[in-house]
Amino acid sequence: MCTICGCGTSVIAEHANSEQHGGTHGGTAHDHDHAHNHPHPHKHDDHHHEHADGPIDFGKGRAGMYVAGMSQERTISVERDILSKNDAFAATNRTRLQNAGVFALNLVSSPGSGKTSLLVRTITDLKEKWPIAVIEGDQQTSRDADRIRATGAPAVQINTGKGCHLDAHMVGHALDHLSLRSGSLLFVENVGNLVCPAAFDLGEAHKVVVLSVTEGEDKPLKYPDMFAAADLMLLNKADLLPHLDFDVSACLAAAQRVNPRMRSLTVSARTGEGLAAFYSWIEERASATAAPAP
């Protein structure tokens, strides 16, 4: 398995019934400098032999002594962010999207908050105005991509296998399968998971967290990382509020406490309530990146 994205087990499918090319990704054609390539032909740059000028000192190492056949331990200061590889892929994606004039949103939430229904509704309402494409992340199946394609929008399904989140490397591969016109909106629907996707920048313009009113109003306090990483919260399934004890103001207060900069909108993908405000939010920001289609 590729150690960067696990793409030996992930599958990127452009069409529902097309041949999935996971085999290529897991095979030798997709080399990420695995542990056993050996680009340096036995260099001695890990220790210094001062043959020319100084004495040959075997006591200089960390141990202060030399035993034949045993190397001397040393400490290397690295100080690199563990996510620096992902962040580099994300920066590449971000530049690529900006240069292509594409405005990308990364939708994150628990499973079952209504992300796909929200996307279907949004595409149906906005497709006359903007070209829209979708990258779908799920552990298995292309059901979500199939639902998106039914609206007429192109969709690429990434199956993460055992993976609990999308990363920037996977999204880079998915972008290869989309021919995005300048002025497009791109929605990335992350794997339903309110924890792990918070850590992985994909190169999007904004993270949008979707919370449904059938969940607890204290979710922002219980899962602060995701709400701290998002710029917009959509409180979905508002049409169910009359049947629930959900306290909207308590939920919005919890969200504000975790992330004072985050905007919040109460919406219903089913009835369309509140979605006009979401579309305005998109247009205000997308017009800076992506010009509307003529």
Partner: protein
């Protein structure tokens, strides 16, 4: 459980360092993990041996230094400890404390031979 991906990323960084610095074995890997961040030290430890098996980091010992949360309170004009990412200032109750530490997720150093 994104800690598996995080340990895979650590292994990739160790590989980078091996290419640059040349070593044959990693004895110890030291990480700095913020207490207010998204990574759980116990989960990192739990998957470390399985993920590093067969890699350059196979057999390495994992040491994790946890970094406590801290933030700057503009009202108190000082750095204050933070128990939670969104906690109020423990001195004056101000809710607008800017987090300055506790979000770390770094490969700090390694002992190699």
């Amino acid at each position: 459980m994104h800690e598996v991906s995080l340990v895979e990323s650590v292994v990739a960084l160790v590989e980078d360092e091996r290419r640059k610095q040349g070593f044959s074995r990693v004895r110890t890997i030291r990480l700095k993990v913020g207490m207010l961040g998204h990574a759980e030290p116990e989960a990192l430890r739990f998957c470390f041996d399985a993920v590093t098996s067969g890699t350059i980091a196979d057999g390495a010992r994992l040491e994790i230094e946890t970094v406590p949360g801290a933030g700057w309170c503009p009202r108190c004009h000082q750095t204050v400890p933070l128990e939670e990412r969104f906690a109020s200032c423990p001195l004056c109750g101000n809710v607008h404390v800017r987090m300055t530490a506790g979000d770390e997720l770094r490969l700090a150093e390694m002992e190699v031979e």
